[in-house]
Symmetry: C2
Subunit: 186 residues, 2 copies
């Protein structure tokens, strides 16, 4: 009997915790806040809301609302009311917030370790993970949070990216970000 995939995930999680605790600057920052901050740095303009973070992190909106409030007090994000829907607030990382994301030790160490695998193994690893999540999402009816450009609603109109779900043109930068409405092509 060998270690299961679940065991590896648990092990990696423990390592992530350890790295964060050993980080002199960020050890006092709750892990959820950093996860939310990182999400906000890689999600598109349809997804940078309280509910977006809520779905992504798998928590309740009350909990998330509090963590985001803390992030705002740290001045790592700021809020911007939506122009169309007055219920919605967009959450955007500040320059300081982005700097924090880029200094996350966990991301750096993992990235370095992945690179040591070499391009083939890295390809196999992320490919298998992608497929795995795809299966899970299909079976469980969960959101996939995939890249905008890999979405079944992603289109081109007059040479510019366009979202077939919202029927709106897309900022070019959005297509490289993840979206809470993402659906794999059939």
């Amino acid at each position: 009997m060998a270690l299961s995939f679940f065991d590896y995930v648990e092990r990696i999680n423990s390592l992530l915790r350890s790295w964060q605790r050993d980080d002199a600057e960020l050890s006092m920052v709750p892990a959820v806040q950093l996860s939310a901050l990182r999400y906000l740095s890689i999600c598109n303009h349809y997804s940078d809301t309280v509910m977006g973070v809520t779905d992504y992190l798998g928590l309740t909106k009350g909990t998330v609302s509090q963590s985001l409030k803390a992030l705002e007090e740290r001045q790592w994000i700021y809020k911007e009311p939506d122009l169309q829907d007055k219920r919605i607030v967009h959450l955007k990382p500040t320059a300081a917030g982005l700097a924090v994301v880029q200094q996350l030790v966990a991301v750096q160490v993992l990235q370095q370790a992945v690179q040591q695998l070499g391009p083939e193994l890295e390809q196999q690893l992320t490919g298998a993970l992608h497929q795995l999540l795809s299966h899970v999402q299909r079976q469980e009816q969960r959101k996939s949070f995939g890249l905008c450009k890999s979405c079944r609603f992603h289109q081109q109109q007059d040479g510019l990216p366009f979202c077939g779900l919202t029927q709106q043109p897309l900022p070019v930068t959005s297509t490289q970000l993840i979206c809470r409405e993402h659906q794999d092509p059939a």
Copy 2:
């Protein structure tokens, strides 16, 4: 730019959280307690202590001591003092505790999804993860928590398993479990 390995890990973590919260019976049980319980169900007799759990989960011993106390109150584990070292207490899952471990939805869903990948992809995935953790462990001087039988101290003596580190014979069942003293072969 595609999703990074870190992104996949974060995504899987969110799913794990969601599954646990949706679990009718276990949603009230803190995730740390379940992680500790599962660890105790797959670790050998050198590792089933407060410090073993502490190292594995990447927390402090005070925190872990509390969670284990809660597990004991649920009667999912029981304590057994060490015969040689009177400071040490061994933590063993009860029958009820083992039943809980085997009903963890997260483990089941992930296992099912991995199986859908097929044997080759599964092999690639776990192989890459194993190598990845190996690199990380070497660079960061962290514990690897690998399988007893894959340890550089694992030996045979009179046809029976033997630990070269503790200089003690090993129960046959231990060799299939993970150990906090595990070291990869040079």
